[in-house]
Amino acid sequence: MEQLIKKIKGMVHLRAYGKQRDDLHFVTVDKAQLEMILAHLKNYEGFTHLAFLQAVDLLEEGKFRLIYMLYNYSTNVNLGVNVLIDRDNAEMNSIHKLWAHGWQYQRELHELFGIDFPDSPRVHESFVLEGWEEMPPMRRDFDTLEYSNRTFYQRPGRSTNDPAEYMKEKIYKNYPAAPVIRRDNE
């Protein structure tokens, strides 16, 4: 595995490398070099199985992190290739030519995260949503509870059993509230 990482380092700009388990490694590469490294891993290093392609919304940094999870049948090792892309006007190159089921994940990401994959077949088709008018729902800043309250009719009488709330209500009812610290600028 170290050899492979060295090789990848020689080929592309390796931004980060992490080892989670013996059979699970993560590398982070640049957006422009992704396709090249994926093709290399698939064709020459035996990482022929694309387990999934997904995204994580890093709202605080204004980025999306894409994960291409590859698998090598002969060494039984998973390699997650991460790449960071901008959150505004998110766009990424398509991998549907490398894996025939790549377009499925790209269609899903387009619908749920709003990441565009130009040239990917059927990417603008609807996947799970029908007639969706809001922002892509898997983005962090989409509030699903608020949307649900706004759109659907809640049946009254739903109660919560959150332990902290419960303790505050039942056990520590007479407990004095924590002193509120006032700062000068408030």
């Binding site: 799970v128 729902p137 649900s148 759109t151 659907f152 009719y153 049946r155």
Partner: protein, 213 residues
């Protein structure tokens, strides 16, 4: 009243079918559904008895509740003892078992299938998620209360309800049918506009006729 006036009233009674493309408009009926009352009391009582003993269930597994319908059909529980049989087409079915949470995409099909069933028709809703959303109360894609979209006769609580609970639910439905309380079909017609308003609020791309005959 002048003829013109009568025409106007009749036009108001017609369904708009606004969302259909123009060339398809002629393919669908635009009549509003009408209420159909019961027959003579004793005759209707006899018919209700027969209806309650021959419940034809629409085989539409809308959610995870459908997985408990299979054990219900097999030797352990065997719902055919009670005269319940699955039926693959809505035209012939009389009971709609909504198997759990209904996502937006599914509720559209549920409404279509429900409207195509020939009355008197009954709806059994299983699972907490049809009652108040259950654990999906905050999901953006599942409805919370089914009775805002189609009339529901029996709710079966639980996630998911056991087959015994389903049998109990079916028995409750039978009692209601025999007592003549299951008039969901007429209720749907009477509150048609309210149901349509609720349905159209969540189904944003309404590309079907307003009422599916």
């Amino acid at each position: 009243m002048s003829n013109k006036h009568i025409d106007e009233i009749e036009n108001q009674m017609k369904l708009a079918n606004e969302s259909l493309p123009e060339k398809e408009c002629s393919l669908f009926a635009d009549d509003r559904p009408t209420t159909v009352g019961a027959f003579n009391k004793y005759y209707e009582g006899f018919l209700n008895w027969a209806r309650s003993r021959s419940l034809w269930m629409l085989a539409f597994g809308t959610g995870c509740g459908a997985t408990e319908l299979r054990p219900l059909m097999t030797s352990r529980y065997d719902m055919s003892r009670y005269g319940i049989a699955p039926r693959p087409t809505p035209r012939q079915a009389s009971v709609f078992v909504v198997g759990g949470y209904a996502s937006i995409k599914t509720i559209k099909r549920i409404i279509r299938s429900y409207e195509q069933m020939q009355g008197p028709k009954y709806v059994i809703a299983l699972g907490s998620c049809t009652i108040n959303g259950g654990m999906y109360y905050d999901s953006y894609n599942t409805i919370n209360r089914l009775d805002y979209y189609i009339p529901v006769d029996v709710y079966i609580a639980g996630c998911m309800p056991r087959p015994e609970a389903l049998i109990a639910g079916f028995n409750r439905l039978k009692e209601k049918i025999r007592a003549g309380e299951c008039e969901g079909m007429n209720e749907y017609v009477e509150k048609f506009d309210w149901y349509k308003k609720n349905q159209k609020q969540i189904i944003k791309d309404w590309n079907m006729p307003d009422y599916n005959w």
